[in-house]
């Protein structure tokens, strides 16, 4: 099945300038994309507009997000990819 343009767009936006982010987003999408609620998808969409360095800081636990929704999505992503 070809991916829908929306799925492809999301995957493309997950292509980042840092390997760490590529790995985190790809693992997350593979494992959990189908379980995401509409609200979580919107949050993910919003988060993908952040600069790479900020995403790196959030997803690698350097700093928390002040936004409650983003903060809970970050926790969900980190839990999903935890070794």
């Amino acid at each position: 099945m070809p991916a829908t343009a929306d799925d492809s767009e999301l995957r493309w936006r997950c292509r980042r300038g840092m390997l760490e982010l590529d790995i985190i987003f790809n693992e997350f999408l593979d494992k959990a994309y189908s379980t995401l609620t509409h609200e979580q998808k919107d949050l993910l969409d919003q988060m993908l507009d952040y600069p790479d360095q900020l995403l790196f800081d959030l997803l690698l636990g350097h700093m928390p997000s002040a936004d409650k929704g983003i903060s809970s999505l970050v926790t969900y992503i980190r839990d999903t990819i935890r070794p």
Binding site: L19, L21, P51
Partner: protein, 590 residues
Amino acid sequence: MSINDIQRRRFDTLIIGAGGGGLRAALQLAEADASVAVVSKVFPTRSHTVAAQGGMNAALANVLPDNWHWHMFDTVKGSDYLGDQDAIEYMCRAAPKVVYELEHSGVPFSRLDNGKIYQRPFGGQSQNFGGDQAARTCAAADRTGHAILHSLYQQNIRAKTHFFDEYFAVDLLKDEQGNVLGAFVFDIHTGEELIIEAKTTLLATGGAGQLFRTTTNALINTGDGMGMALRAGVPLQDMEFFQFHPTGIAGRGMLITEGARGEGGYLVNCEGERLMERYAPKAKDLASRDVVSRSIYTEVKEGRGCGPNRDHVMLKLDHLGEAVLQKRLPGIRQTCITFLGIDPAEQPIPVYPTAHYTMGGIPTDRYGQVVIPVKDTPEEPVHGLYAAGECACVSVHGANRLGGNSLLDILVFGRSAANHIIETLKETRYHRPMDEDSIAQAYERLHRWDATGDGESVEQIRTDLKKAMEENCGVFRSQDVLDNGVKQVSAIAERLKHARINDNTSMFNTARVEALELENLMDVALATVYSAAARTESRGAHSRIDYPDRDDKHWMRHSLYSLEDRKLDYKPVRTKPMSVPSFPPKARVY
């Protein structure tokens, strides 16, 4: 859309790539009132330059005595005498100026208590031509690349550079005489194709780390500009030299920066022995990258690796204490916790060499002009074509790049290419007419992926290519291994011709983008493995078990691989610097 309906846009200069190299050039041009288009397959500030956390070199002498001439010596020695000494002198002399320019444009460099820019020691840096360790690397905490990229992007927006974000460049376009006149690109969102006509074109598409399975490079680093150059008839230079960073997280590839060893971390084998004391008694863990990578490989090969499969060594940082780790190396700590579930303040990190940097690339002179051999002249400029950054080979890194010298390279030569382009534009008043065949070829290459029917998947071929490259063209090489690499990669390249994608829509067809990227990677892989199999010596990153020594008599020369007939040619190294005596080749001891 038929080929005749494709829209055309005209600019003085087209820059393909919006990393540090492309953006530095664009800024220089836009400030000189040239009309500049920058095409990037990802949003500019997501270019790979953002990943450079360690810093950039400049002999500022803020922490320890230093000068550009010592920096030059280290770079020539680090290159294992394959670097061109005129370009190296140019770069090392320009370095302080480039750092101060960045400082003035707002890059927040870390400071010493006296207010001067902080500089940390990195591998391969020395005082006084090979003496004590130097401290030459300037950093904006551990986000140097991010700070530089964002600053350059903002300045470009102010200078009115025209950005084509998320556009993919397929191929260069030429006229019948071979002058480069722009590129064929398409909008990844809509699939809409566009011909960008330009009086001058600069390739700044970055490296090709995705050639290997274990790499520090992001997925976007697929050597596209190198592929485009090859198809335009430009050979690739010194592709056998691929840098493996000694300390990648074992099995995953992520970089543990050299800064970790700069701050006092060291490598141990399964016996707890500090292994670098044996291989580089003086510089130890701060010896140059190829030396450290090979030492790790040797430990593992001789059975002194760690872990259940004895397939890696350990990087110890726990003795530095939590406070130092948190202050100086916060990134590493969190990387280990996130991807390994271990805290380096308590436990050592499993590490193994990981593919990191493409030393070879599109041959240029120090003005960024792409140069190719024509008849008896080894370096004849290709009219209208420039290259800068990791996709280029100018060559300042020769057989091995020193840490912190790449950010410097992309900025220095991005700038110098722009200066040369400004001069060229003064003499180039009009756009030349394109060769319509050249457009047709690019169009066909793109639309070949519209074909439906049975065929192997791009993903499978990519996986096989990366495995073949890792196993047959990695850290340690021999004739058997490399010949096998040539055979395997050639067979995989054949399979690609019959591959299919199962998506022929226009909107966000990322399957097609990945197919085009794989075509580029494939040509770059062939260049790499062919050049490596032919070079019967060990030099820098190209290390052979069967030819363990450097052979200056036969091999102090640059390789040039052409797509046509997969032919290899060679040209001399420029050993004559601009103003100082040259550094003659010596044994490289650290």
